[in-house]
């Protein structure tokens, strides 16, 4: 629909306009804002329509066969379940395992749960995305009646609004230490009604750990004032971790001090001079990502770097790569193994 003005149609003295249809183009409202105004009004209408849908949402019916169960989750939110949780979705492999240990059944998990074969997640369980980026539609499609989320992952926190709007009970947990695990297991086993599983997977584990700790500290009286360096090895770099982590907490119970507590600056930059000065007794490394490349990265740094080679811990071989399933993922019912592993390493 284009036409061009004929050349030569106008001479300098001609007073006739070149494009006759122009004369008709008079509008009181500018072209530039009338049409888009209509468009934007439609957009607004659509938004209002959506809002209108909200007003018609009705309350979920109360199923009152069992006593409603109420508890506080790790974000101090009150979680209320009016019926038995039978369709449960867990948004991390650790929580998935804890729920299974509490005697529950899962209908949906994140991809990290499938990659951990030890969990034994079957094919009938739905995949709902990754731990960092769970798919809200996939969660809703399963019509769960209880969702387990992590208090430390931002995308999980963002899901709260959605789950609340859909009246799906959900709870946030933060598990770093054995005590955290026990607190979570306690609430979950009350939910499933399997109290004896709490004893088996919780209290007994706690008992064994206490025994391991007692056994170690009795024999090693010189662990007072001993320091350790805790590192997290990625495939491209190595970072120091503080004493407030899971491993840090365990080592504190063994009587060891994390080097970063004496020198907080180590958290930002691995200050070789500081480490050399303090000469930690042990060096622990937690691999991130692929264990093999993390191990290679650790070996490279510790053994090829002359500064690190000079450390007593390295010379005597007191640097240890900690296995992921006992020290990166939450050990859950295998805490005793983790403690025992550490006890063994520390006695070298």
């Amino acid at each position: 629909m284009t036409f061009s003005c004929a050349k030569g149609a106008s001479s300098p003295m001609s007073r006739r306009p070149c494009c006759p249809s122009q004369d008709k183009q008079v509008s009181l409202v500018p072209l530039g804002s009338r049409v888009p105004f209509v468009f934007l009004s439609l957009l607004f209408l659509l938004t209002l329509l959506g809002a209108g849908c909200a007003r018609q949402e009705s309350q979920p019916a109360r199923v009152g066969r069992t006593t409603p169960f109420q508890f506080s989750d790790d974000l101090q939110r009150r979680v209320l379940l009016t019926k038995r949780a039978e369709r449960v979705v867990a948004l991390s492999s650790s929580f998935a395992q804890t729920w299974l240990l509490a005697g529950g059944v899962l209908i949906g998990v994140t991809s990290d749960a499938f990659s951990r074969e030890a969990l034994g997640i079957g094919e009938e369980v739905a995949l709902i995305g990754t731990i960092k980026d769970p798919n809200s539609e996939a969660i809703l499609a399963l019509e769960p009646d209880f969702v387990l989320l992590s208090a430390d992952i931002p995308s999980h926190l963002a899901l709260s609004a959605l789950l609340t709007e859909c009246s799906i009970p959900h709870a946030y947990f933060h598990v770093e230490t054995l005590d955290d695990y026990l607190a979570m297991l306690s609430r979950l086993t009350t939910l499933t009604g399997e109290e004896e599983l709490f004893k088996k997977n919780g209290l007994d584990v706690h008992q064994s750990c206490t025994e391991v700790l007692a056994g170690h500290t009795k024999g090693e009286s010189q662990s007072e004032g001993e320091t350790y360096l805790l590192l997290r090895a990625y495939s491209t770099k190595v970072r120091a971790k503080g004493g407030d982590t899971m491993v840090g907490e365990m080592l504190r119970q063994f009587g060891y001090t994390n080097l970063t507590e004496l020198h907080p600056s180590l958290l930002e930059e691995l200050g070789i001079e500081t480490i050399l000065k303090e000469d930690p007794t042990h060096i622990f490394v937690i691999p991130m990502g692929d264990e093999r490349s993390a191990k290679a990265s650790m070996e490279h740094m510790l053994t090829s770097n002359p500064a690190f080679k000079a450390l007593g811990a390295v010379k005597d071989g007191r640097y240890h790569l900690l296995p992921k399933d006992l020290f990166h993922y939450k050990p859950n019912n295998r805490w005793e193994e983790s403690y025992a592993y550490l006890a063994h390493l520390l006695s070298q």
Binding site: S4, C5, S10, S11, P12, P17, C18, V26, S27, P30
Partner: protein, 251 residues
Amino acid sequence: MFELENLSVGYKGRPVMEGVSLTFRPGEITTIIGKNGTGKSTLLKTACSLLKPLAGSVRLEGKAQQDHTRRQWAQKVAFLAQSHADSNCTVHSLVTHGRYPHLGFSRSMGEGDLRLVEDALATMGIGELRDTSLLQISGGERQKAYLAMALAQDTPYLCLDEPATYLDLAVHKEILRLLGALKAQGKCIIAVMHDVGAALEVSDHICLLGNGGVLSYARPEALVRGGLMEEAFGVACTQVSTREGERYLFT
């Protein structure tokens, strides 16, 4: 009447010129000439309210410049700049922008506006270029387009900064003739020109600038006879009578 009273112009507090008092009347062409750096463009831009005066005042038909809103001023005074930023619009589009000061809140053009645009295009003889982008025409044609825009602004006062630059000889002459025609319509034209010969030819008054002020404000013949031309430019000026009128030679 366009009056400059004791005007000091310059940049960032440093005056380029001081104490300039001039009056421009409708139906007259006044050309501002002077050596490079004397502040011709600065003076013109300050008069047109594009620059703030350092001292003194500018009055248009008795009303001070500050008492006009920007829009009111633009409806009375049009300005043609010496150089323009690259702009990718069509010639026709550019000329329609000249009507901007006269448009209401809805910013839409009425029949009268469109007619003025067409007249401006016709007057400048660039009707065939109406749909071509400014970036694709020659420098001279672009100058004509901007001049057409100033014409479309339809103001009683026209301030032109080097209107004939970039234009070839024939078009140069055309522009000068156009200025004459506009003057005959009753417009007041103030132009800054480098071409002293053309200035002397076409103007009713010449304003010669130098030494931080106005060296002379006189009719062309008087200026030439006065001998200030040699002083200001360092060249001798001779008036020559030709068929078309008085012309000036420089040696």
